[in-house]
């Protein structure tokens, strides 16, 4: 029994190491491509964007809870990426850089829109996602309903921490807030979600 458990732990550790290795390899590969793109290689940049497009879109759907808005935001983020590629310094993964840009564009857009308007937009977005769930006979779970009801800042914090696995320092950098604020937002978001579920 003990041996079996130890074997399982060893297997998990090997899996974790191989995933880490794969992640580092992917990041190095991306960095090489970014360097070429920064020197004006449009082919490589197109390849890089194509590779991360779906990931970015899926992230923005979770943040906005609106597939249509997420698609527009993805395009805006890609445009900004093309213009600012020379400023990327490789201090974070390329995908994290794209996520940061997308998040900041979204926050800017939400600030410009009026409160009532953004509430209406959010309701429309949730309805669109629910419709897609229903059309595929999938259940729209209570957890997703509660997640959709959270404010943008809380949803962002809880997703970045507990779904994407960023540290509080990284979340703080991404959202331009102190890491302490990021921590309290995550804690509040989890508390709100659990209260909503109970």
């Amino acid at each position: 029994m003990y041996e079996k458990e130890m074997n399982e732990i060893a297997n998990l550790f090997v899996l974790y190491l191989s995933l880490m290795e794969e992640g580092v390899k992917m990041r190095t590969e991306d960095m090489k491509k970014v360097k070429l793109a920064q020197h004006g290689d449009a082919d490589v940049l197109a390849d890089l964007i194509h590779k991360h497009y779906s990931f970015l879109y899926k992230y923005l759907v979770k943040v906005t809870m609106d597939p249509v808005m997420a698609e527009d935001l993805t395009q805006d983020t890609i445009l900004r990426c093309i213009e600012k590629i020379s400023l990327y310094d490789g201090s974070s993964a390329f995908s994290s850089w794209l996520m940061t840009m997308g998040t900041r564009i979204y926050i800017d857009q939400m600030r410009r829109k009026k409160r009532e308007n953004s509430w209406l937009l959010r309701e429309q977005g949730i309805r669109r996602i629910r419709w897609q769930f229903e059309s595929r006979n999938e259940e729209w779970s209570d957890v997703l309903e509660s997640l959709a009801k959270l404010s943008t800042e809380h949803r962002l914090a809880v997703l970045l921490k507990h779904y994407y696995g960023y540290t509080y320092e990284e979340i703080g950098e991404m959202l331009s807030i102190p890491s302490g604020t990021a921590k309290s937002r995550v804690a509040n978001a989890v508390r709100q979600l659990r209260e909503e579920m109970s």
Binding site: G40, A42, D43, L45, A46, D47, I49, H50, Y53, S54, Y57, K58, V61, K62, P67, A70, E71, T74, L79, I82, E83, I129, Q132, F133, R136, E138, S141, V143, L144, L147, V158, L159, H162, Y163, V190, L193, R194, M197
Partner: protein
Amino acid sequence: MDWNDQDGTEEEIFLMKLRQSVDRMDHVLDQPSIPTKEQLKDHINERWKKRRKSMKLELLLFWLVSLFVVGSGMLLVYSAPWILWGIQGLSIITAICLMLRFVIHRRKEGMG
């Protein structure tokens, strides 16, 4: 198991549920219409071309404004030096006034 441990386990279970639900959402939602690599390449080239053009224009404008400023300065020095000295004097007086105002404002704030 004390209350804290139990709460921590419950939170872990809840977070696992959250991750599973969000994963499910990823699978259920329609895929976005991803542009092809060729489309992206054309778009990138077009954006870079526009950017190069606007940068050239900005540089040209910078040189034109610089030439205008330097030319006007030279003209003032040779034709009417007193205007140049007047501008210099006025700038210094304005700077001193602004500094005094700033200092007085800070002192008032400190007193209040």
